[in-house]
Amino acid sequence: MDNHTIAHTEEHHVSLPQHRHHFETEEQQREAATFGMWLFLLTEIMFFGGLFMAYLLYRNWYYDAFVAASNTLNIGLGAVNTAVLIGSGFAMALAVWAAEVRKKGLLVIFLIITTLLGTVFLGVKYVEYKEKFELRHVPGANFDISRFVNPPADARDQQHLAPDMAHKTEIYFSLYFAMTGMHALHMIIGIGLLIWLTIRAQRGAFSSGYVAPIENFGLYWHFVDIVWLFLFPLLYLINIHPMH
């Protein structure tokens, strides 16, 4: 008999109620779940990847329009949102730690902080979207290019675009709304899951060794965070030199 294998199995044998019968060991179940979540995240990389490809292409083709359009975004709000999201990622990582060391109270607190910060993010996005609606920068029948052909005095970017290039700002905003909108949708789904996880955590589901859902949700949350880490510079920070 393989002594090492016996000893290993006995040490790590945890009979959790959540153990599924088609797995031989807890460890196998946990490994499988984490691996499965990573594969799902691969699909998300490729899904957002298509949008990043579109962005790359059109930024290259219509650079001036992208510069003008990007300069209408509020960098302060964008930076704050980035910090907020990084903070929520930090809180989520601490939540995973709390679950691993079986501190129920801390786990619930960190999950709540994660949820709150995520909601703040969405709130700021709502404010930003509202402004875009008011300026008529939402793609579609109502799209208004007048600010780009004749920038008002308080505009950060004072270059006058030819109407032809000014129309291309609609493509920028299409990508802006598609990418941040898709991101926000993932945040909303994440927050919904967070609420559910928090309730279950409060009931003690994750403080006795069964950490997989917290861990794997953490992977999802961090991924959504990473997407934003790329969206922020690509959308908000295109050529914003003050002397421009």
């Binding site: 019968h21 088609h22 797995f23 031989e24 196998q28 490994e31 499988a32 691996f35 499965g36 594969l39 799902f40 691969l42 699909t43 998300e44 490729m46 899904f47 957002f48 990847g49 298509g50 949008l51 490809m53 579109a54 292409l57 059109y58 083709w61 219509y62 793609p139 579609g140 029948a141 129309h167 291309k168 609609e170 493509i171 299409s174 990508l175 709304f177 598609a178």
Partner: protein, 553 residues
């Protein structure tokens, strides 16, 4: 004619008392099951249903093409015929065919596991398929889609007012069904093999499905984003594919074909896995060059990602880029050829018998080779300019998909039918069906190569009168083919009640699935096996038979 078929004594043989089919009763035990075998059966029924709808559209297309004039239906309606035929056959039949039915059923058993890694996600996958299929039928009933299954922009975004968004949503949802199946397979294969089952002891069927699963997981999301953008373009007018707003219609095609080329490998790889199993069993020989075949599956998957723009040679991509893609396309043919050589080498000096699965396998090798070779012609940039968007392409992909994949699917269904149902199908009738299918296929699609070469465009329902003879031949073949596909429906259904009891291992095949009862118990194995032998070990099988004790009931 000699046969390796070995059935138990029919006077005393019975089906196992408790198996996955009768373990639980009631419709909910099926609709809420986590058992991979039941989910496989659910898929089998569903894809067969959609196959016949797609086939009906094929029949209508061939009916219209009997005469050179566009006399049966209006142009728009004809466009809807070939669009619905393509969408249903590709997304609702071919992509899920082997993985979702045979793969779901067999992969856990072949690995010595009790189920897939995520049984609930497996069930979700089936429900997503059903929702996608229902939405497709909805689009059909509401009036259909006429963009072609390729949804090429800007036609699909700006020039049509058919139910594109409904169809796109349907495909989006069906795509997730595919992703979840692939995800489940990958995790199961990596993490749930039985003790001793190393990667190189797995059956080649598993390797093939693994490679296809990689493509499902990595490729399908790009299709998803492409059709989301089409839907946004249609509804809001975002301009992303609109030339008048500065968009590039070719961007859609890059995203679409980035999935749809690997998709053809998603479709064919599991079929190749089936062929490996069948050829080995009916030659009583280990697959020649196991390692080469295993690696070539993965190589096809990897290279399959590098060649997509060969579908776009005449669409406006730069010539330099077209050159690169053309060169890479030549490379991707190599692993497929390796498999074909290895199968042939397996046959050499094997102890061959010609049961129905083997007949389909032979059909596969011949027809897939022709289809694959014509693919190489099309991959060559100069040839493609002349041949693309003609019936040459139509013939090419039907040779690989129908002559190849569908035959492999039927080979697999017949090969594992006794395992899944416990019953044998009637052999002479099935052999007849296989031969009829083969003849019907050649008659239908060989003339199309000639038609394409002579210049008949695809997706047109009128053509110059000098092409009529070939078209009539093709339609006649389609009728024969239809008969060939109806026959298995009838006798397989018949066999469920009246077929001979098959016993555990009627084909005397190696593989863990043949060491459990037919049909298998719900938990697959009473005790998880320990695997200390290679795949396709026929000598070991012989030794085991000498010491075998037959169990009763």
């Amino acid at each position: 004619m000699s046969t390796i078929l070995s059935l138990p004594d029919q006077r005393t043989a019975t089906l196992p008392k408790k198996n996955y089919l009768n373990n639980e009763h009631g419709i909910l035990s099926w609709l809420l099951t986590g058992d991979h075998k039941r989910i496989a059966i659910l898929y089998l029924i569903s894809i067969t249903f959609f196959f016949f709808i797609g086939g009906a559209f094929a029949g209508l297309i061939r009916l219209e093409l009997l005469t050179p004039q566009p006399d049966l239906v209006a142009s728009d309606t004809y466009n809807k015929f070939f669009t619905m035929h393509g969408i249903i056959m590709i997304f609702l039949f071919l992509v899920p065919s082997v993985p979702a039915t045979l793969g779901n059923f067999l992969i856990p058993i072949m690995l010595g596991a009790r189920d897939l890694a995520f049984p609930k996600i497996n069930l979700l996958s089936w429900y997503l398929y059903i929702i996608g299929g229902t939405l497709t039928l909805t689009a059909l009933v509401l009036g259909g889609v006429d963009t072609g299954w390729t949804f090429t922009t800007p036609l699909s975004t700006h020039y049509l007012n058919t139910h594109v968004v409904t169809a796109a949503t349907a495909i989006f949802i069906a795509g997730f069904s595919s992703i979840f199946t692939g995800l489940n397979f990958i995790v199961t294969i990596h993490r749930m093999r039985a003790p001793g089952m190393s990667w190189f002891r797995m059956p080649l069927f598993v390797w093939a499905n693994y490679a296809a699963s990689l493509l499902m997981v990595l490729g399908t999301p790009v299709l998803a984003i492409a059709i989301v953008l089409v839907a946004l373009e249609r509804t809001i007018g975002i301009g992303i594919f609109d030339p008048t707003k500065g968009g590039d219609p070719l961007l859609f095609q890059h995203l679409f074909w980035f999935y749809s080329h690997p998709a053809v490998y998603i479709m064919i790889l599991p079929g190749m896995g089936v062929i490996s199993e069948v050829i080995s069993t009916f030659s009583r020989k280990r697959i020649f060059g196991y390692t080469a075949v295993a690696f070539s599956s993965v190589a096809i998957a990897v290279f399959g990602f590098f060649v997509w723009a060969h579908h776009m040679f005449i669409m406006g991509v730069s010539n330099y880029s077209a050159l690169v893609f053309s060169l890479l396309t030549m490379l991707v043919a190599v692993p497929s050829a390796i498999k074909t050589f290895n199968w042939s080498a397996t046959l050499y000096k094997g102890s061959l018998t010609f049961e129905t699965p083997m007949l389909y396998a032979f059909g596969f090798i011949g027809l897939f080779t022709i289809g694959g070779l014509t693919g190489v012609f099309l991959g060559s940039l100069g040839m493609d300019i002349h041949l693309t968007e003609t019936y040459f392409i139509v013939a090419h992909f039907h040779f690989v998909m129908v002559g190849g994949m569908l035959m492999a699917f039927l080979a697999g269904i017949h090969f594992w039918w006794p395992k899944m149902t416990g019953r044998m199908y009637p052999e002479s009738l099935s052999k007849l069906a296989a031969v009829v299918t083969f003849i019907g296929f050649i008659l239908t699609f060989m003339p199309q190569f000639i038609l394409g070469y002579l210049g008949m465009p695809r997706r047109y329902h009128a053509y110059p009168p000098e092409f009529q003879v070939l078209n009539v031949l093709s339609t006649a073949g389609a009728t024969v083919l239809g008969v060939g596909y109806m026959l298995p429906m009838l006798y397989l259904a018949w066999s469920l009640k009246y077929g001979a009891i098959a016993g555990d291992n009627p084909w005397q095949a190696t593989g863990l699935e043949w060491q459990i009862t037919s049909p298998p118990p719900t938990e697959n194995f009473h005790e998880i096996p320990i695997v200390d032998y290679e795949a396709y070990d026929y000598e070991r099988l012989e030794k085991m038979k000498k010491h075998e004790v037959t169990t009763v009931g």
